[in-house]
Symmetry: C2
Subunit: 115 residues, 2 copies
């Protein structure tokens, strides 16, 4: 379902990969892979003003990498697997294409040895 | 080796993922996964001036996704696995972190059922 959606709207992959092109966003995802956390907890390791940090959080949310929920003054973030699945599917497809190519090369080499 | 290099220079991952945040570059990689091709062959599907297209080729080369070789007037491009391996390793690490977390949750649930 996600794969067909991403195939239908391939521009969503732009944001999926753009999200990973930044060390702060990768570090936030690394932290959230261990479990949910509040924005204030997530921001602690970074020497960054809160508005700048929030831009990264929104980018991760908009690109499908995280979900956020606000209760009172606390916004909690959690990893979402939608973007991961899309990124992983794209990479797996490239790998499948190479492997098919090398399998064909192997078959050709074997045929030429048989002759 | 590649993993430790990327762990040592994590900023290289910025370029690895930035390269994938563009539909032209993803399409070029998709084509090259099927086998090497010249720049002029690669550029055909795109309605883009050659200097703009060459910027994408250079980005893919600089970020470790492709190798290029010039013979006479023809520049041939081929996929390189360095960037793929780095991207794949980063994603796999996130998956391993979640799975460890869910395994711990399962263990906790089983323990509480046993009690």
């Amino acid at each position: 379902m996600i794969l067909s959606l991403m195939a239908q709207y391939p521009e969503q992959l732009n944001g999926v990969f753009q999200a990973l092109a930044d060390p702060t966003r990768r570090a936030v995802l690394g932290r959230l892979s261990r479990g949910p956390a509040s924005v204030s907890e997530l921001s602690k390791p970074f020497d960054m003003a809160l508005p700048s940090f929030m831009k990264h959080i929104r980018f991760l949310e908009d690109s499908g990498w995280i979900l956020t929920r606000k209760e009172g003054r606390v916004r909690t973030c959690a990893i979402e697997k939608k973007a991961f699945t899309a990124a992983d599917a794209w990479l797996s497809k490239q790998r499948a294409l190479w492997e098919a190519r090398f399998d064909r090369l192997d078959a050709l080499l074997e045929d030429s040895q048989d002759e």
